[in-house]
């Protein structure tokens, strides 16, 4: 068998080398068993280095160092890792694949550490207060579940949310100027996810969200090919709102992102039942994940269409997911189905807000009726879905980001509705080829 050399394993030999130089070059090749890292990889280290130095500085700036001196060595450690990443980017001599992977792992671990430390400082030191009504309602739901009370039947007064530290501007108000009747607006896993952590003593739910975020980032870096690992991680954590400030600001959305990431990893491994289970978990956590389902159906159909019984496989996949979605919700549906339904569809009936297209209306740049808002949202969804159906083969990974675009057209379109799709998109993109190969029954993907 003839071994196949990867192009990067070829060492460039100087032009018209002397016999002496050529001998030495061959010795180097034999000793290092590698090649110079390609410029994309080195630029990835440089970008990571810059990010780490930013993280080190931001940690010092936000940590109130005189009273939190234990963060000083950690910040200096981030600086060291940042400079290491930058200097490693400058290395142009050949390195073995093992050493290159080791460098990538060191830098990746440092970035994860930087995210964890900065999120810690932002939660515990800079912003010790809840920032959304959603998380406060989640905490009250957890407390009610632990007390054996159906949280879908409670209506919380605004003052109770204020007592949990929610600022006034985070309380959702109606177009008549009243506070909405505050009740849960999400499926059951949105609060059941927190129950074991709360019972174990993590009473500030943001710590649990941070655990979900770190687990999500670890899933991404572990699943993607090592040559794109740094870029995949940077693409996610470079949005510091997504990686740091939304967590401390009490946005809990990492709890539905993690199961969708695990769904992709399961597909990559050919574990279709497990993937369906994770889709069901995500759907039972927050409604955003529901917007993936039409695009996922097209994505699945595209790749399963060359396999045996594609429709049957799809029906089985979504049936399992639906069953898993129902499982944690059934007790609350049985207890009070109307309360559950009213809660889950509540966001549909709240006034325009957020940062998407409806901003035009919020600041009176255009004026539209509620019906027009709904028509634009539905129309955008139709166009994007049709566009994906038409271009599914040339842009298959668009499935993982188009839900964010649909939500941008919604009358309620918060930044968190868009940016939490980034990790899913990045992982889907990085695994594009591997996901294709895992389609059952396909001979040649």
């Amino acid at each position: 068998m003839i071994p196949v050399l990867e192009p990067e394993a070829v060492l460039e030999v100087p032009f018209e080398p002397s016999p002496h130089t050529r001998d030495r070059a061959f010795k180097v090749v034999g000793k290092l068993d590698g090649a110079p890292a390609p410029i994309e990889e080195r630029l990835g280290r440089a970008a990571a280095g810059a990010l780490l130095i930013w993280g080190a500085y931001t940690l010092q700036a936000s940590a109130q160092l005189p009273t939190h001196t234990y963060l000083v060595p950690l910040s200096l450690g981030l600086y060291a890792c940042g400079f290491f990443a930058l200097i490693s980017a400058a290395v142009s001599s050949p390195l073995s694949a093992f050493r290159r992977q080791a460098i990538t792992w060191v830098i990746t671990t440092a970035i994860l550490g930087s995210v964890a430390l900065n999120a810690y400082a932002s939660i515990a030191i800079q912003n010790p207060r809840y920032g959304t009504d959603g998380i406060a309602l989640g905490q009250m739901a957890v407390e009610h579940v632990l007390a054996g009370i159906n949280p879908y039947t409670i209506t919380v007064d605004a003052s109770e949310l204020r007592a949990l530290g929610v600022p006034l501007n985070s309380l959702t108000q109606t177009t008549s100027g009243e506070f909405i009747p505050n009740s849960l607006s999400y499926p059951a896993l949105s609060f059941l996810d927190f129950v074991p952590f709360f019972a174990a003593g993590l009473h500030d739910l943001r710590w649990t969200v941070l655990l979900f975020e770190l687990a999500s980032l670890i899933v991404v870096v572990a699943a993607v090919p090592w040559k794109v690992r740094l870029w995949a991680l940077i693409a996610i954590v470079a949005d510091i709102n997504l990686s740091i400030y939304f967590v401390s600001g009490s946005v809990v959305d990492w709890i539905w992102v993690l199961p969708l990431l695990l769904m992709l990893v399961s597909i990559k491994r050919g574990k279709w039942t497990t993937a369906a289970v994770f889709l069901g978990i995500a759907a039972a956590t927050k409604q955003q994940s529901w917007f993936l389902i039409p695009f996922l159906a097209v994505w699945l159909y595209t790749y399963l269409s060359g396999s045996v019984q594609p429709i049957k496989r799809m029906v089985k996949f979504f049936s399992i997911a639906f069953g898993v979605f129902l499982l944690p919700n059934i007790p609350f549906l049985l207890l009070n189905g109307h309360a559950w339904y009213a809660s889950v569809v509540a966001p549909l009936f709240q006034p325009p807000d957020g940062q998407g297209l409806s901003t035009l209306g919020q600041f009176s740049m255009i004026r539209m009726s509620e019906a027009t808002y709904s028509a634009i949202f539905a129309g955008a969804a139709v166009i994007l879905f049709a566009g994906y159906v038409l271009y599914r083969k040339s842009a298959p990974s668009a499935a993982w980001i188009l839900p964010a675009v649909v939500l941008w057209f919604s009358h309620r379109s918060f930044q968190s509705y868009f940016v939490y799709w980034t990790p899913i998109f990045v992982l889907g993109l990085a695994l594009e080829q591997e996901l294709r190969r895992r389609i059952p029954g396909r001979l040649n993907a």
Binding site: T67, A124, P128, R129, Y130, R162, A163, L164, G165, V166, P167, L168, N169, S170, Q173, T174, T175, S176, G177, D204, P351, P352, D353, Q355, G361, Q362, F363, S364, R367, M368, S369, E370, A371, T372, Y373, S374, A375, I376, G379, A380, V382, I383, A386, G387, L390, Y391, H411
Partner: protein, 340 residues
């Protein structure tokens, strides 16, 4: 029949959707139209932020509008209290809207000199909508210019929302200066009297040297040359050797341009004034009817703050690890500005 290209198909779908949306928009026209402008902003509550706005509202539409008013300067609007009477078509009306909530008041712009007699808010707009409708009309951006109060929230009526910090809560207009670290508990709390400071100190050579619960704010000496601090209760002042304090609560005056120097006025049984080695002047003084008067102009001179226009005033309760008493509480009813 020619086969439609993918792009052609998508274009056809986009056109169909645009036509459908236009039809919906045409079938549900907007019959309301408003104009709103801000005429005046004032600080009726002495909180150093605008909390009363005078507006002009004109209904330019064909149906009456029941206005809902909101003030906005960043991502999210705050609904303010306004008159609920409907504004008839073609009617122009002057209305006054108010809020009692500190968070709903536009904050001050940075960069104003701390001793300036007036302050400017950040730019904000007033948004109006007809109750129940999703159409909004916004005023032009406005910057409020208000008089700077000599002292803010001196009776501790308003508090920021609670949080998960280790130092309790923070009254509006003040900073929480508590510095104790676990296992010491150093808390600031709302109290029936006004404000309460609580310290529970751990002993032993390994523990933190001091545990301190405190709130502070910057005060212009020209606007407020003296303060009356009214205590509800206070701890006995204790020293280790007749000079060095180990438990004390009272008022501390310091300034940014006189680092390391400060005056501590503490309620005590007798009158005694002395300075300890690290630049701290300690004045023991018996309260009169529970009150201490702090002469800020004199304090500024004493701590050699020169012509600094402002000083920081801190209400504090501090316990040293060597104190025989490791738990203490102090409550302050009010801090009032005295003209002279």
């Amino acid at each position: 029949m020619p086969r439609l290209s993918r792009f052609g198909a998508l274009l056809a779908i986009i056109c169909a959707v645009v036509v459908a949306v236009a039809a919906v928009a045409r079938a549900t026209p907007i019959r309301t139209d408003m104009a709103v402008s801000i005429l005046r902003a004032t600080d009726a509550q002495g909180l150093g932020r605008p909390n009363v706005l005078e507006l002009s509202v004109t209904n330019r539409g064909t149906v009456a509008v029941q206005p809902v008013f909101a003030v906005q300067w960043d991502h999210y609007p705050f609904v303010w209290n306004g008159p609920s009477a409907a504004v008839a078509p073609n009617e122009t009306r002057r209305v006054v809207i108010t809020t009692d909530n500190y968070e709903a008041m536009p904050p001050l712009a940075s960069g104003t000199a701390p001793d300036a007699p007036s302050v400017r808010s950040v730019p904000f707009v007033v948004r109006v909508n007809n109750a129940g409708d999703v159409q909004y009309w916004a005023s032009a951006p406005w910057t409020a210019q208000i008089d700077r109060p000599a002292i803010v929230n001196g009776h501790f009526d308003q508090w920021l929302p609670p949080d998960f910090s280790d130092h309790g809560r923070t009254p509006v207009g003040w900073d929480n200066y508590s510095s104790g670290q676990l296992p010491d508990l150093t808390l600031v709390k709302p109290d029936l009297a006004g404000l309460a400071l609580e310290v529970s100190k751990s002993a032993g050579p390994q523990s933190n040297e001091w545990g301190e619960a405190a709130v502070a704010r910057e005060i212009s000496v020209d606007a407020c040359p003296a303060l009356r601090v009214q205590f509800a209760n206070w701890p006995d002042y204790l020293t280790s050797d007749g000079v060095l304090p180990v438990l004390m609560g009272g008022v501390q005056v310091f300034a940014d341009d006189a680092p390391g120097r400060s005056l501590l006025e503490v309620p005590s049984q007798g009158t005694l004034r002395y300075v300890i080695g690290n630049g701290m002047y300690i004045w023991e003084q018996p309260p009169i009817d529970g009150s201490l008067v702090v002469d800020l102009a004199q304090a500024r001179t004493l701590i050699a703050a020169g012509q600094s226009p402002t000083v920081r005033v801190k209400l504090f309760l501090a316990i040293h690890r060597s104190s025989p008493t490791l738990r203490a509480r102090m409550a302050v009813r009010a801090v009032d500005c005295l003209a002279s």
